[in-house]
C-alpha cells in the first residue's frame, strides 16, 4: 500500500485552480450541475411566458415591452417572438439541461467513484469539455440580445427556414447563426466528454470491478456516452453544412426556386430532407441520452430503498444496450410526414415498436425490484417512483405515435408535445431530482430536508400530470402545435378552457420549484451533517467520506468483491453487503 500511497495527490491550492479551472471530476460535475440549474431556470421561465401568451395572446404587458422593444411593441407579444421563445426553450432544455445534468453532472461526479478510480481518464479534456459547454451556452443565450432576436426554427432547426438568413424573418439572421454555432460548439464539448467517459469506464475500473459488477448507473452513463459520441459527430457534420448554406451560399439543404418574402433565392438543388435525416440520426439517440441516466439512477434508488437486489440485473444491462443500439435505427419515425415511402415508414415503425421490448423489460424489472421489498419512502425514492410512472405514461403514447397511420394525424398536434414532455422532459427531470436527493449528502456532506422534499415532490408530480395529460386530449381533438394563438379559430374555441387549466397548472408547478431551490441551497449550508453512508447503500461512493477527499480514495485502491445490489442477503450480518466488503460475508449465504 505504501507504493499506492505515493501516488496520492493533494488538492490544488487557490480558488482558481480549485473551483474554476479545476481538473477534479467532482468539481467539474458540480460545475455542470449548476450550469444545468441556471439553464433550467431560463428554460422554465420561457415555458411560463409561452403558456401565458397562449391564454392571453392580446394582453399588454409592460415587462414584455421593456424586454423586447421591437418584438413586443406596446407590450403585445408577436407570433415571431412566441416562436423564438419556443425555439430557445426547446434548445436550452434539450442540450443544456437534459444532456448536461444527468451525464456531465452526476456522471462526471460519480462514474469514477463508482468504478473505484481517482479521476476521469483525461482530466484536462474533462475541464475543456465543461468550459466549451459554457461557451456554447453563452453563445446560445446571446442570440436573445442581437438584432432580430432569437431564431424561430424550433430546436430541430429545419431548413429552409433555418438556412436562408434574415429574409425568413426576425431572428433568422444573426440569431440563427449564433444558434447553429452554439450547437456546433456544444457538439465538440459533448464529444470530448464522451471520449472521457468511455475510456474511463473501460480502462480505469478498480480490481474486481468486472463489467457485471458495475452499478447500472455506470452502464447507462457508458451507453449514453457511446450514443453521444456517434450522435454528436453526425450533428456536428450537419451543423457545418447548415452554416455553409447560411454563410457561404452553398445549397446542401436549400432547394432551388424558393420564393421568400417576394425574392427568388439563388440557392438550387438542395434537400431539406437531408437535414432531417442527419438531424434525427442524432435526434433520436439524443432522446436516450436524456433518459438513460435517469433509468440508471432509478434502478439504483429503487434497489437501495426497497432493500432488494435489482430484479434481473443482466436483463437490465442487455436492455440498456439494446435500447442504445435500436436508438440508431428509428430516426425515420420523426419523419413519417416527410413523404417517405410507406415501406420505409413500415420498417421504421416496426423497429420503433421493437424498442418497446427492452423498455418493457426495464419497467417490469423495476416493478419486480419493488415487489415484496421493504420500501423506504424517502424523497429520492418518491422521485424514482415518479420516474417509473412518467416513463410508462410517456411510453404508452409513443406506441400511438410509432404507427405511421396515426402519426399523420397526431404529428403536428399537441399529442406529440404531451408525449415528448412526459418521457423525455419530465421523466428525465424526475431522474435528476431523484439523483439530487440521493447523492446530495455525498456531494455536499449534508442532508437535504425531507419534508420540503416531499411537499415539492407531491405538488410537482400532480402538477406535471396536470400540465401534460390534457395535451394528449388536445392533440386528439386536433389542436395544432407551434401556434402562438388559438383564439381566432372556431374549432379550437371549445378547447381554450383546457389551455387555461394547463397554464394555471404550469404556474403552480413552476412556482413550487422555488421550494426545491430553497431546499438545495439551504441544505448546502445548514442541512444535517451527512454520515458516510446515510442510505445503507452498497456501491463504492458510500465507502468514502461525505464529501469525498480530493482523489476519492485517499491514495488507496479499493478492491471489489461483490455485485452492486446485494441487499437483504440471507445470512449476512446486516441487510446490505457493500461492494468492498470481504468475500467471507458472502460465503454464509
Amino acid at each position: 500500500m505504501s507504493e499506492s500511497l505515493a501516488h496520492a495527490h493533494h488538492a490544488p491550492e487557490g480558488f482558481i485552480r480549485k473551483w474554476v479551472f479545476s481538473l477534479d471530476h467532482k468539481v467539474i460535475g458540480i460545475q455542470y450541475y449548476f450550469l444545468a440549474l441556471f439553464s433550467v431556470l431560463i428554460g422554465m421561465s420561457l415555458s411560463v411566458l409561452m403558456r401565458f401568451h397562449m391564454v392571453h395572446p392580446d394582453a399588454k404587458v409592460s415587462l414584455f415591452a421593456t424586454l423586447w422593444p421591437t418584438a413586443a411593441q406596446g407590450g403585445i407579444m408577436t407570433p415571431e417572438l412566441y416562436l423564438s421563445l419556443m425555439t430557445m426553450h426547446g434548445t436550452i432544455m434539450v442540450f443544456f439541461v437534459l444532456t448536461t445534468a444527468p451525464q456531465g453532472g452526476f456522471g462526471n461526479y460519480f462514474l469514477p467513484i463508482q468504478i473505484g478510480a481517482e479521476d476521469m481518464a483525461f482530466p484536462v479534456l474533462n475541464m475543456l469539455s465543461f468550459w466549451t459547454t459554457l461557451v456554447a451556452l453563452v453563445v446560445m443565450v446571446s442570440a436573445f440580445f442581437v438584432q432580430g432576436g432569437a431564431p424561430l426554427s424550433g430546436w430541430t432547426g429545419y431548413p429552409p427556414l433555418s438556412g436562408i438568413g434574415a429574409l425568413a424573418g426576425p431572428g433568422e439572421g444573426l440569431g440563427q447563426t449564433l444558434w447553429i454555432v452554439s450547437i456546433a460548439i456544444f457538439c465538440g464539448a459533448s464529444l470530448m466528454g464522451a471520449i472521457n467517459f468511455i475510456a474511463t469506464l473501460i480502462d480505469l475500473r478498480c480490481q474486481g470491478m468486472s463489467l457485471m459488477r458495475l452499478p447500472l448507473t455506470c452502464w447507462t452513463w457508458f451507453v449514453t456516452a457511446i450514443l453521444g459520441l456517434l450522435g454528436f459527430a453526425v450533428l456536428l457534420a450537419a451543423g457545418v453544412l447548415l452554416i455553409l448554406d447560411r454563410s457561404a451560399g452553398t445549397s446542401f439543404f436549400i432547394p432551388g426556386g424558393l420564393l421568400v418574402s417576394d425574392q427568388i433565392l439563388s440557392h438550387k438543388g438542395g434537400s431539406p430532407l437531408l437535414w432531417q435525416h442527419l438531424f434525427w440520426f442524432f435526434g433520436h439517440p439524443e432522446v436516450y441520452i436524456a433518459i438513460l441516466p435517469g433509468m440508471g439512477v432509478t434502478s439504483q434508488i429503487l434497489a437501495t430503498f426497497a432493500r432488494k437486489a435489482v430484479f434481473g440485473y443482466r436483463a437490465m444491462v442487455y436492455a440498456i444496450l439494446s435500447i442504445g443500439f435500436l436508438g440508431f435505427l428509428v430516426w425515420g419515425h420523426h419523419m413519417f410526414m416527410s413523404g417517405m415511402s410507406p415501406y420505409s415508414a413500415m420498417a421504421f415503425s416496426v423497429l420503433t415498436m421493437a424498442i418497446g421490448v427492452p423498455s418493457a423489460i426495464k419497467t417490469f424489472n423495476w416493478i419486480g425490484t419493488l415487489w415484496g421489498g421493504k420500501i423506504h419512502y424517502t424523497t429520492a425514492m418518491m422521485f424514482a417512483l415518479g420516474f417509473v410512472s412518467l416513463f410508462i405514461t410517456g411510453g404508452l403514447s409513443g406506441i400511438f405515435l410509432g404507427q405511421p397511420a396515426l402519426d399523420l394525424y397526431f404529428h403536428d398536434t399537441y399529442f406529440v408535445v404531451g408525449h415528448f414532455h412526459m418521457i423525455m422532459g419530465v421523466a428525465a427531470i424526475f431522474g435528476m431530482f431523484a439523483g439530487t436527493f440521493y447523492w446530495f449528502p455525498k456531494m455536499f456532506g449534508r442532508m437535504m430536508n425531507e419534508t420540503l422534499g416531499k411537499i415539492h415532490f407531491y405538488i410537482t408530480f400532480v402538477g406535471v400530470y396536470a400540465i401534460f395529460t390534457p395535451m394528449h386530449y388536445l392533440g386528439i381533438a386536433g389542436n395544432p402545435r407551434r401556434y402562438s394563438d388559438f383564439t381566432n379559430f372556431d374549432f379550437l374555441g371549445k378547447l381554450l378552457p383546457v389551455h387555461n387549466f394547463m397554464t394555471q397548472a404550469a404556474y403552480g408547478t413552476a412556482a413550487i420549484q422555488i421550494l426545491f431551490f430553497i431546499n438545495l441551497f439551504w441544505s448546502m449550508k445548514y442541512g444535517k451533517k451527512a454520515p458516510m453512508n446515510p442510505w445503507n447503500a452498497t456501491t463504492l461512493e458510500w465507502t468514502i467520506p461525505s464529501p469525498p477527499p480530493f482523489d476519492n480514495f485517499a491514495g488507496h485502491h479499493p478492491v471489489v468483491n461483490h455485485g452492486p445490489y446485494e441487499y437483504s442477503v440471507p445470512g449476512a450480518p446486516r441487510d446490505f453487503i457493500m461492494q468492498t466488503d470481504p468475500v467471507e460475508v458472502h460465503a454464509d449465504s
Binding site: 480490481q207 470491478m209 455553409l244 438543388g269
Partner: protein, 212 residues
C-alpha cells in the same frame, strides 16, 4: 493549469497489472490516464471522426443522387502529389517507430522530423489545390461538387492540423532529448492518429474519383 491536453497522455506508463485483460484487473496508477486509457481514448476519437465523415459521405451521396445540377469536378493535378507526400510521411513515421524500438534515437529523430515536415508539405499542397481551383473560377458555392470538395478537404485539413501539432510536439521533445519511456505513448498515439487521417484521405480520393 497545464498548458495542453497532451499533458494527459504524457504520463509514465502504468505498472504492470495484476488481472490483465479488459479492465477490472485493477492495479495502481496515478491520477488520470494510463497508456491503455490513452489508446482507448484514441480509438473512441477515431470512431467519432469516422461518424462525422460518414455523415458527410451520406450527404454527398444523397445530394449527388437526387439532384440534376451536379457538375463533375476535375481534381487539380496537385492532389496526386499531395497523396504521395502524405503516404510517404506515414511511412516515415513507421520507420521512426521501428528505429525507436531498436533504440536508434538519432534515426528516430530524422525519420520523425521528415514525417512531420512532409505532413506540413501536404497541407501546403492542399492549399495550392484550393488556389488552383480559385484561379479556375471554381468556388465553394459554384456547384455541389465543388462545395463538397472544399468542405471535405477543409474537414480533413483540420484533422491534419491536429495531427501535425501532435507530431510536432513529439518531435520537439525528441530533438530536446526528452523522449523517455513515458513519451512512447505520445509517439504511438500520434502516429496512429496520423495513419488514420492518411486513410481518411485515401477514402476521400476514392469518393472524389468515383462519385465526384
Amino acid at each position: 493549469m497545464p498548458s495542453s491536453i497532451t499533458s494527459d497522455i504524457i504520463k509514465p506508463p502504468a505498472p504492470p497489472r495484476g488481472g490483465g485483460g479488459f479492465g477490472g484487473g485493477g492495479g495502481p496508477d496515478g491520477r488520470g490516464s494510463s497508456r491503455r486509457a490513452s489508446m482507448t481514448g484514441l480509438m473512441v476519437l477515431l470512431a467519432a471522426t469516422t461518424m462525422a465523415f460518414a455523415a458527410f459521405t451520406s450527404a454527398f451521396v444523397v445530394r449527388r443522387g437526387m439532384s440534376n445540377d451536379w457538375v463533375g469536378l476535375t481534381l487539380p493535378r496537385i492532389v496526386w502529389v499531395n497523396t504521395a507526400v502524405l503516404l510517404v510521411s506515414s511511412l516515415m513515421l513507421e520507420l521512426a517507430r521501428h528505429a525507436l524500438k531498436n533504440g536508434h534515437r538519432t534515426a528516430f529523430n530524422g525519420y520523425w522530423t521528415a514525417g512531420t515536415l512532409l505532413g506540413g508539405l501536404f497541407l501546403l499542397g492542399q492549399g495550392f489545390a484550393w488556389w488552383q481551383l480559385n484561379e479556375a473560377g471554381i468556388f465553394v458555392a459554384s456547384n455541389p461538387s465543388s462545395s463538397f470538395f472544399y468542405l471535405l478537404t477543409a474537414a480533413h485539413g483540420l484533422h491534419i492540423v491536429g495531427g501535425l501539432s501532435a507530431l510536432a510536439y513529439v518531435d520537439v521533445q525528441a530533438l530536446r532529448l526528452r523522449l523517455g519511456p513515458g513519451k512512447r505513448t505520445a509517439v504511438d498515439v500520434s502516429a496512429l492518429f496520423w495513419h488514420f487521417v492518411d486513410g481518411i484521405w485515401l477514402y476521400l480520393m476514392v469518393l472524389f474519383l468515383v462519385w465526384g
